[in-house]
Symmetry: D2
Subunit: 148 residues, 4 copies
């Protein structure tokens, strides 16, 4: 049996996940297609939640609610290429009742090649803002240095 | 023979392209996957260039250079769903030697559901900023109301 | 306003839809990523249903059922590239209670570059085969030369 | 630092790679979008080559040649869903001068949910069949039980 897919590591409020660039991620300019970085960020946030002990998929499945990105400021700094190993860093910046502010970066060999800050809103199945579960909020505050 | 795929219409400096949401664009939350809007925007910019008479694919193929998004601020306002018809609006805001500033919106039934402003830099094959061709610059200025 | 996105044309049992290759469809080998042809085929089948008067999205939304591909044999004959205009041809080959057999081809300048034959099964929300609606079956038979 | 992304394990001629289903892989029917399985298979073949010691990315980059799928027969047996861990199994079936025959399966909890057999042709940059490097052929034969 091969190794389980990595869920990355959450350490000191920073989650780190490594991933590989495949053909599917690249485009005819021989670099990673610009929108794929947002896919990579979403993998990072998903694994952040998993490692933190939050079952987002169950929340979606049971109709409790789902996180949706409502705002993102992105900077593409350098291109990534086929076969690169990229590190996705995710950190919570602040938490409100129905949304989180998150900083993310994609790093190759120690150099950031893409950065983003974003708002993830918790929405009910009808798409309205919903208060995040109380225990999630407590957990999030424990992961923000200045809140802890 | 069916109709050619639409390249949209460029009118008064605003390019408009309509497109359809397919299964491939949606996710398990029954809405369009957030990063797909960036794909839609890129189709809009590509058709803007085509309608304006600029052959971006040839520039890439011949090693002249290629546009790359270096910065984008995005707002997701409302979700789109399977089968929606979406209108991608693209307008040039300003032009510098090696980059363009662009505003884009995705509109459904007259209501914006996603907006973005971005910088598209012209890069040589090594990824360094390159001056945009002189005739492209002249064309761009003719498409910006305050420059024209 | 720009033209509505084309839904293609259904003529003599053959549906034809044209589409454009964008950056998002290509990979670092400077050709269309092989799996994207399956995305293009799905757009063709979706527009075939729309033009035939079948509202697949409503069937999915209302829990009636959804088509799922259960089998596909594919041949990649020639590569497609950025900016190519591709024609997706779709024709029904045979119909059973809970499934359709379909032939599809992707054609560039009159030359097939990809062909596939496939089975699309109609499944209930639990994933079990479900009889296709009676009026859909009647319609399908009218679209198959030897059944009509 | 988090763990490196897994390249899977090659054992007795069978390569095994585990991966996670993310939002990006699903569609509005709440299952993995059918074409995404082909993406997963490509990750499996890429890691098979890496673990076997073949640098496919370098071959592409240096213009030596690239593998292209020319034929694939696929069977979708059961749907996968958000957060599933999937095992991609890859095995070489036979080798000719310019192509390999490969069997692949995607397995969840011991049950195959998707199977495919395919031909991967080695092509020069112009898209013509090219003889695979001699040392690659020798390696491949060592990985096929009846050839070894």
């Amino acid at each position: 049996m091969s190794a389980l897919p990595s869920s990355g590591v959450l350490d000191g409020g920073v989650h780190r996940l490594q991933l590989r660039v495949y053909f599917e991620d690249t485009d005819t300019a021989a670099i990673v297609y610009h929108a794929k970085y947002l896919h990579f960020l979403e993998r990072g946030r998903t694994e952040f939640l998993r490692v933190a002990g939050i079952d987002h998929a169950a929340a979606v499945r049971e109709g409790l609610g789902a996180y949706a990105v409502t705002q993102m400021d992105c900077r593409w700094l350098r291109p990534a290429r086929l076969d690169d190993v990229l590190l996705v860093e995710t950190r919570l910046i602040s938490v409100r009742a129905a949304a989180c502010r998150i900083d993310q970066a994609i790093i190759r060999d120690g150099t950031p090649i893409f950065t983003a800050n974003l708002t993830a809103a918790f929405l009910d199945p009808a798409g309205r803002p919903r208060r995040q579960p109380r225990d999630w909020l407590a957990l999030y505050h424990s992961l923000i240095p200045q809140d802890a």
